[in-house]
Amino acid sequence: MNVAKRTFDAVIVGAGGAGLRAALQLSEAGLKTAVLTKVFPTRSHTVAAQGGVAASLGNSTEDNWHWHMYDTVKGSDWLGDQDAIEFMCKKANEVVIELEHYGMPFDRTDNGKIYQRPFGGHSMNYGQAPVMRSCAAADRTGHAMLHALYQRNVRANTQFFVEWMALDLIRDADGDVLGVTAMEMETGEVSIFHAKATVFATGGAGRIYYSSTNAFINTGDGVGMAARAGIPLEDMEFWQFHPTGVAGAGVLITEGVRGEGGILRNASGERFMERYAPNLKDLASRDVVSRAMTTEINEGRGCGPDKDHVLLDITHLSPDTIMKRLPGIREIAIQFAGVDPIKAPIPVVPTCHYQMGGIPTNYKGQVVVPKDGNPNSPVAGFYAAGECACASVHGANRLGTNSLLDLLVFGKSAGETVVEDFQSGQLKLKPLPADAADVSLARLARLDGQTKGESVFDVGLEMRRTMQKHAGVFRFDALLKEGVQKIGEVAERAKRTEISDQSKVWNVARMEALELDNLIEVARATMVSAEARKESRGAHVRDDAPDTPENPNGRDDANWLKHTLWYSEGNRLDYKPVNLKPLSDDVEPIALAKRTY
């Protein structure tokens, strides 16, 4: 196959919030930048974020970044790196105000400032009471943000390659990153994007689970590409199950519903969160609420004929508040649950939502790997931001509204680092290896030539069912062990996928087969990392690591206060220390403590 070569200063893969924010930095600095995206930018999954973006603006209640940092570290169950968390919380006001200046239509307070609402796990004065920290545009914050970022990129003349799917990362013999291969959907043609800097902003891989709030496109493309190229994946055992996916449909209902006063109820109408989180109740952090809901359901207090969900009740809110603050939720409830939340509660279940782990980075957005005794040695030419990256600010559990903040802060930071490295002359256009496209071409040739193979649909379904059953909200040693074996079998089947569509033009079957390769890397990383971590922490809770006086909540800091690193080759695991030291002297380290809400 003929492989065209295109050369840029920088190539960004992904045009969601993180990719667009990074692109803005590069375009405005005058770097020749290509942004590859497999969907038109405003179709990226940032568009589906609802409830808000965190920033301690203090527009409605007193607030400061110290409190935000404390909440984030506690929310992460101390697995988050405190330097990155300090950086993010300190930068929050700046990046949110920038968006307002770009034209983002935030809701407003009576005095004209950005409207803020309470959100799970966010508190004032180190856990005392809920704080209003989530900056919101109704319940369409992600949509408003993504469109504002795209619009600003239109103004900056950013060059997009729309409906181009990145295939593989190109590294040379030194391990340096030289760009990616990518396929244009409309023609099926493969090109090499050769660049001094490569930025991954490819989002998450929530589609490894059967029940997910995630879009079809959330297939972990960057994470899979990195893993295949020998980059380890960090903390992949930590997946967030959002408490309120619409039962049966999986579609997200924002935590902002509870921020506006919504209450979770079991079959007897009890506000059960009072028992699990006496202080913050329905606004406890997501892992806590999802476990409480699952426990209610498992113990027979679920709702409906099959007792398989709980109810999210906002019937006590005024219709006016619902129409003004939660109009999109009302549409979703009517469309996907068949109920008008003004009149009846919404059936909800915990649903896979967010990947806390990902490609290891530092707070500057540089991809870092263990090398020569340094656990965090930057990979030359490689950067990542947003859900595909692990900075790590979310640790073992992310707080709601911190994902939109993450993609703004680290999208910008990665962009700034690329610009600095470019302007200092540190970034070089290294020569492409002769075999730069061979891996991608071999994958495509294998797929085109496969006979008597496996259906992409069937293998994908088996993967999703396996993940759902073996690595869910609660985890069990025996199920995890079995899960490792099963996902290995699924991975073997995925090597023999066959498609019948042989067209060059917009071949969805080919795209889905290539996406499955990426999902499989993520699924393997998740299962193997989860099986190995013999403690409970944040979103990873095991039956054999219960709450004891020595190990509160089952967390075993003596042995497991460390980041997992999973290598695709040989399913190998490694670990690196958590950074408990903040970035500056402005703040003391947040000391380890038992998490209660």
Binding site: T42, H45, E100, V508
Partner: protein, 236 residues
């Protein structure tokens, strides 16, 4: 709920092998959990993986899966499959070049969107904090900013069919008014100049197909009327 079968008539065209487009009769058996047209199409793809369409969020916010459903534009993910008369006839969005099956080339649509300068213009030095806006002024943006750029409206508009290169179309004009209505934007005159042309704005004849099909319940015709009002007010 029992299993049910849905019969489709679907526009098929693969330029790699088909001399010309054709309508394919095809049926699919649904699972009880399949509620939306998109669920049925995904089920269909498991049967015939060459069936091509765009999709992503499956909840009506990304705007990918717009198509012509029984003669009317809409989003597959927000259309109840049981509400549709059978056979369900699916065609690509009208008036745009077809790339393959239900996938259209949206270049012209986005070109028009870009032509209205879809970004806030404010040349004052950026303040340290947010620019203030009253809740009432912010409310002016409701019904405008929620557009998902699915193109259901513009591709149901006869004026856009006849002059896709000259008429901005309902989606682009809705976006234009979104910025005209924003108290933070300072580019009012230039924005109006940009639309003062026999085609760009004035090809709208208030047929209101756009309003009829918008999956988000938005009203481009009203926004266009408001732009026309601003032009008149500016002229006197």
């Amino acid at each position: 709920m029992t299993k049910r079968t849905v019969h489709f008539k679907i526009y098929r065209y693969d330029p790699d092998k088909d001399e010309k487009p054709y309508m394919q009769d095809i049926s699919v058996e649904l699972e009880p959990s399949d509620k939306k047209l998109l669920d049925a199409l995904v089920r269909l793809r498991a049967k015939d993986d060459s069936m091509s369409f765009r999709r992503s969020c499956r909840e009506g916010v990304c705007g990918s899966d717009a198509m012509n459903i029984n003669g009317k534009n809409g989003l597959a993910c927000l259309t109840d499959i049981d509400s549709l008369e059978q056979p369900v006839t699916l065609r690509p969005l009208p008036g745009l070049p077809v790339i393959r099956d239900l996938i259209v080339d949206m270049t012209q649509f986005f070109k028009q969107y870009h032509s209205i300068k879809p970004y806030l213009v404010n040349n004052d030095p950026a303040p340290e904090r947010e620019r203030l806006q009253t809740p009432e002024d912010r409310e002016e943006l409701n019904g405008l900013y929620e557009c998902i750029l699915c193109a259901c409206c513009s591709t149901s508009c006869p004026s856009f069919w006849w002059n896709p290169d000259k008429f901005v179309g309902p989606a682009g004009l809705l976006a234009a008014y979104r910025f005209l209505a924003d108290t933070r934007d300072q580019d009012t005159n230039a924005r109006l100049d940009n639309l003062e042309d026999p085609y760009r704005l004035f090809r709208c004849h208030s047929i209101m197909n756009c309003v009829d099909v918008c999956p988000k319940g938005l009203n481009p015709t009203r926004a266009i009327g408001k732009i026309k009002d601003m032009m008149v007010r500016r002229a006197v």
